[in-house]
Amino acid sequence: MAEPVTSTITMMDPAGLQAIGAGLAVGLTGLASGIAEKDIGSAAIGAMAENESLFGKGLILTVIPETIVIFGLVVALLIS
């Protein structure tokens, strides 16, 4: 008599997947913000080197891409 076929299904822990998703959301958007800020930041420093009064404007423009990572953070918080 043949033995009954048994199989074990391994399931990933949903909490773990959530954590990976949250990590990706913050990590990737962080990289994207970094890439976007790189050029703006160096341009702001260049302009500031010649004209110090541009500091305020330069700073604001440099942190605008920061919104990308904030969205990532919000998504991460929603997931987890």
Binding site: K38, D39, I40, S42, A43, A44, G46, A49, E50, L54
Partner: protein, 357 residues
């Protein structure tokens, strides 16, 4: 950090093509351009006396240069030296703040000052000018330093000057200089400069080098057109004069120039109306015009204007930097015209005609 930059730049060959810091350089250059004297300043300067102008320049961007040189020179000479020094310092700064391909293209372009300085020194020696007079016209913005150039200027004759330049790329041409063929040598130096520029842009597919080439070619057109106007006005139709023309123009090909050279002044003007530059100069050009000053300043103005609008089309490229270099050169030349004109007691009208505003 230096290690990281070294890694990014890779080996020495990639210095010419490596990573360029466009964002930093163009933003900084634009901030520098905002300090260029606005057009309204020139009419104000025209109403001032020579000492007032000197004081005005001494309080502007040129302050440091004027202060530095005030012990050695005075009056118009002081301003002239300060302007030249400022030009050299500004352009050398452009080389210092740029990286990679951008740095390479700027350095290649600034070789025009090496050629200019060598020509100035040779001319000075040719007409036995004093060392002081030669130094007045030197702008050490290229690869040759001011110290080296001022040493060259103190040499007693041209043979010594040429032998000092033995290790430079210009020696191949300079060694043929025999003390009489100065204009021929000057032409060859100019052509060598342009050949060098085209060699840098020739086969490359990069967008930046193409823009650079286009910019240079418009410059060549303007140069050739100015030479043609002068030749035609003087009634010269000698085909040997083709030696004076530089190859590689954008709209005016060398074959077009060859066709125009034998024409009379009237026919030349009629022929010129087929080209796009005609729009810029049509209202000041007529067959019975007396002076070419208007045409020449109109052409220069066209170049400045087209550079400015071109730099808005390509904000992150070499163009804004070339545009700044042109504007700076123009500012220095305008200030020099005013100060020299006032010193020589020329009429305001005459000085105003020469300005490119």
């Amino acid at each position: 950090m230096q290690l990281l930059q070294k890694f990014k730049r890779g080996n020495s060959r990639s210095r010419f093509t490596g990573h360029s810091n466009y964002a930093y350089t163009t933003a900084r250059v634009r901030a520098m351009k905002s300090k260029i004297l606005p057009n309204e300043t020139y009419p104000r300067l025209m109403n001032m006396g020579i000492y007032e102008i000197a004081r005005f320049i001494g309080e502007s961007e040129y302050k440091e240069d004027v202060d530095e040189l005030a012990r050695q020179y005075e009056g118009a000479d002081l301003i002239e030296h300060a302007l030249n020094r400022n030009l050299a310092v500004t352009f050398t700064k452009l080389i210092k703040i740029s990286e990679g391909e951008l740095n390479y293209l700027i350095s290649e372009n600034l070789k025009q000052y090496d050629v200019w300085n060598i020509k100035t020194i040779l001319r000075g020696k040719y007409c036995k000018a004093s060392t002081e007079d030669i130094l007045e016209a030197i702008v050490a913005a290229g690869s040759l330093s001011y110290t080296f150039l001022s040493e060259l200027a103190t040499k007693s004759n041209y043979e010594e000057v040429v032998s000092e330049l033995e290790n430079t790329e210009y020696y191949a041409i300079l060694r043929n200089y025999n003390g009489t063929n100065l204009s021929e040598i000057e032409n060859q130096l100019d052509k060598m400069y342009y050949a060098g520029l085209f060699a840098t842009t020739g086969s490359s597919k990069s967008k930046d080098r193409k823009l650079f080439a286009r910019f240079i070619r418009i410059g060549i057109d303007i140069k050739n057109l100015t030479t043609l106007f002068r030749l035609k006005k003087a009634g010269i139709t000698d085909p040997d004069m083709m030696d004076l023309m530089v190859e590689g123009g954008l709209k005016l090909k060398i074959s077009d120039i060859e066709r125009m050279l034998p024409l009379s002044f009237e026919d030349f003007i009629a022929e010129l109306s087929k080209y796009t530059y005609w729009e810029e100069i049509s209202d000041v050009v007529s067959p019975d015009m007396v002076s070419l000053i208007d045409v020449e300043s109109r052409l220069k103005k066209h170049r400045l204007k087209s550079a400015a609008s071109f730099s808005n089309v390509y904000p992150l490229s070499i163009v804004p930097i070339m545009d700044y270099m042109l504007s700076k050169q123009n500012e220095v030349s305008n200030l020099r015209i005013i100060i020299r004109g006032k010193a020589a007691n020329l009429s305001d009208e005459l000085i105003r005609e020469q300005l490119v505003i």
